[in-house]
Symmetry: C2
Subunit: 514 residues, 2 copies
């Protein structure tokens, strides 16, 4: 077997069974080897950012890594933004980047570039595979590294792929999970039961059902305020799940949520900071005089141990099923959220890149049937449509609702083609407000003059000239689409999409943001 054969066999034996691919010449032997390894499912994307975002969405839902197959440095560059999001999500992901043959690299051919430098910016593990005999073991190491919750990048020279002498490697045992630090646990428990105002801020797998239940028990027993990080990797929620509010994106709102706390216990997340820096404002959200207590180790387990200590014998309250009434009339951010809340199906996976148009969604869906909510962990827009691709591949029996802002959708719009190609059950709602609305808000938040009166600056937030037609874009890529202008039309379109298999796109025309 050649190197590519051994690589594929090792990946599959190690539990990596999907490869989101956008290959080029240097990856042709990997591609050919797919014909001999039917256990690996290749999923073609038309742009590398779709492949990397899909691998992120896949792993968040499957709980194990997918591979990506990217072409040299420029292909990696195209995939970088969604690898950044994956890094911030703690997603396990095996990123295979084809490279020139070993003896071709020194010739500095046109596509030669510094792959390692770029890969290092998003990867917790990078290796340049040296020989066909080594690549199997490299792949097993890559999977093990990825399973630690990071991007593992394996740079694969073409001659390592095509050379003879490949040897498939056995899976490398998953690393033993870190232990919960008992001293940190004790300190956190002391802080929480000390009677002073405390906040319990959670992330990682603590935002899954078990972690949420434990966290709610701790909060109920101690009076601590419970919050999830602003952008959780995967938040389980809805009827029957212990609820949690998220730390606000806007600094002032977040400061309000944390205000007066004397203790901040962190489980599975880092000390909170604002997304951006603003003139004259402190980016550190920890209130003055508040002690921070990080608890290391597996987050859900840490919460379980905290609950055993602080709330023995209790059980968590869970959200009741309670949907908003279906609204009528004008389509607004609020009515669109209510429609989603009224209709979100049981077991849905929501991929949320709705940005300002999604402000009403958390409340409107809090009592919907149980579902998962995936968010923009790293702030690099263009994640929604790709992540929905991967989530749908991971969970073919669950409906995926991709709630997507218009501006952000355009970064990786070709994901729609993969939705159609793979027949994925993804319903995309485009929130069409014809603006980079968040930037209008941020322009004011940073205290910049201009904007309101200035045509040059205002023009850079305006997506309405010309007006985008997402139904045409969707149909151009094989996805049935409809444009809706009222709450009733949105509801009808979502019901229709839900009733039919395969992908759909609903373009929700919101009032243009002035």
């Amino acid at each position: 077997m050649n190197g590519a054969d051994s690589l594929l066999r090792t990946l599959v034996d190690s539990g990596v069974e999907v490869c989101f691919a956008n290959p080029g010449t240097s990856e042709m032997h990997f591609v050919a080897a797919l014909d001999g390894e039917p256990r690996m499912r290749p999923v073609l994307t038309l742009f590398e950012g779709v492949a990397t975002g899909a691998a992120d969405g896949y792993a968040r839902m499957a709980g194990r890594p997918a591979a990506t197959l990217l072409h040299l440095g420029p292909g990696l560059g195209n995939g970088l933004a969604n690898l950044h999001n994956a890094r911030r999500a703690g997603t396990p992901l095996v990123c295979v980047v084809g490279d020139h043959a070993t003896d071709h690299a020194p010739l500095d051919a046109p596509l030669q570039s510094d792959i390692a430098a770029v890969a290092g910016s998003v990867s917790g593990w990078v290796r340049h595979s040296a020989s066909p005999a080594a690549v199997g073991a490299d792949a097993a190491d890559a999977v093990a590294a990825a399973r630690r919750g990071q991007v593992a990048t394996l740079v694969l020279p073409a001659d390592v792929s095509w050379g003879a002498g490949g040897r498939a490697a056995a899976p490398v045992a998953a690393p033993a999970p870190d232990r919960v630090d008992p001293d940190a646990l004790t300190a956190a428990a002391r802080a929480l039961r000390g009677g002073e105002p405390a906040v319990l801020l959670i992330g990682g797998d603590a935002t899954r059902a078990d972690g949420l239940a434990a966290a709610n028990r701790v909060a109920a027993a101690t009076g601590a305020r419970l919050l999830a990080e602003t952008f959780p990797t995967r938040l389980e929620r809805g009827a029957g799940v212990a609820p949690v509010a998220r730390l606000a994106y806007l600094g002032d709102a977040a400061r309000h949520q944390l205000g007066g706390a004397r203790h901040l216990v962190l489980v599975g997340t880092r000390s909170p900071v604002t997304f951006f820096g603003y003139p004259g404002r402190d980016g550190d959200l920890v209130p003055d005089g508040c002690a921070v207590h990080p608890v290391g180790g597996p987050p859900a387990r840490a919460l379980a141990e905290l609950a055993d200590l602080l709330a023995p014998g209790t059980s968590a309250g869970v959200a009741a099923q309670r949907r908003p009434d279906l609204p009528t009339g004008e389509l607004t951010v609020a009515t669109a959220a209510a429609v989603v809340g009224a209709l979100l199906p049981e077991g849905a996976i929501v991929v949320d890149e709705a940005i300002t148009s999604g402000l009403g969604l958390p409340d409107a869906t809090a009592g919907a049937p149980r579902h998962d909510w995936l968010t923009l962990t790293g702030g690099a827009i263009g994640y929604g449509l790709p992540a929905a691709t991967g989530a749908a591949v991971a969970c073919p029996d669950r409906p995926v609702w991709c709630l997507q802002a218009d501006g952000s959708a355009m970064y990786t719009i070709s994901a729609l083609w993969t939705h159609a190609r793979e027949g994925l059950d993804v319903t995309t709602v485009i929130y069409h407000n014809s603006a980079y609305a968040i930037l209008r808000m941020e322009l004011a938040a940073v205290g910049a003059r201009g904007g309101a009166g200035g045509t040059a600056s205002a023009g850079l937030f305006d997506l309405g000239r010309p007006e985008l037609d997402f139904t045409a874009l969707a149909r151009g890529m094989g996805v049935p689409a409809v444009r809706v202008r009222t709450a009733e039309e949105l509801a009808a379109a979502l019901r229709r999409a839900d009733a039919e298999p395969g992908p759909h796109l609903v373009e929700a025309m919101l009032p243009a943001v002035a």
Copy 2:
């Protein structure tokens, strides 16, 4: 004035008058400052790869740099592939990348990443601006660095933008051009007139009219074979221009062109290598026993000096105007090329990313009216539509024809929206063959089994499931579009596009590549 004001004023004073932008929060003060600097034209793109490719196309035609405005590390990542092409083209380009405020960066907020590492992979010059007082001078240095024919990346922290005390800087004098190395010139001249078989291979500004005339005089006087590099940055050609053939992309064809040469004189280009490495094949295209004679310094000037030495008093033959007849019937790669050759307007700028569908174009257009031809210098696909954007902004009085393969078009398809928004006179021809046809060819070239029989591998080259509809995509972004299936329809569509101002897209349905 704040830092952003001083940055903008300095850029404009230094001759940078267009900024291709896709900003985010950290760039809001740069955006606001645009309202106070009407000499800077901001051009909004919906994806950073469009901004960087546009800046490349702009500079190739304008002969001076544009700026890009990108948002943090992920924005730079999205722009990286076309910065790679710009680097390989030797394009002057000022890449402004907004960063977190200086005191925000250590907080490791979600969008924090290693910008310098990524920027270094494509930039000849990188600087992190330290203060509002310094950024003006930094900008002047960046423009001077860019003018040396490279990407100059200025990382601009938000507080450097918003802080008071900005000072506009005077332009930094353009660096004196390197001299032509007299010893190298002498050696090259001796090789060319020695009577042994010789090849003169040219690139850089030697593929503009003056350089081509000099090169043709040298070739005619010495019997040397004249070739341009495979992917010239800007090739002037057509009736009245001294002609040149390009070194072939395929290794065997290139070896044939260079075969038997005992001397290879390089002016403005590097020693030729194959694009990729192939099993058992040497990537170095220099024939055995052939001496290589690189001539440093400004390429066109070097050729002028060589012509003075070797061909004094001669003048160059130029291409005659000679168009193909308009073909009829089936649309094929050949007939489509003939239609382009028959109709290409005077003064056109051709942006060529037609890949395998463009094989007939060089011959069919050799006798068209004088025009410029821009090519995929770095091999990172997704360059065509963005580069056409920039070329049209640089040369509003010239028609731009973007000859674009279908697969590559999808990487940066949102450039069409900017075509419409800016009313650019770009006519895009999409060569729709429903495949990554070049990869089918490359699969065979690397000697990989699979492909023909293997469904997994074959599937990764197939763009026909579902079929893309580029007319729907174009209309969704405000560009009038038509699909054509015969040579006559293509001719009619191109004539119509040429007669109407503003952008058009013509989807040329070619036989699907099996």
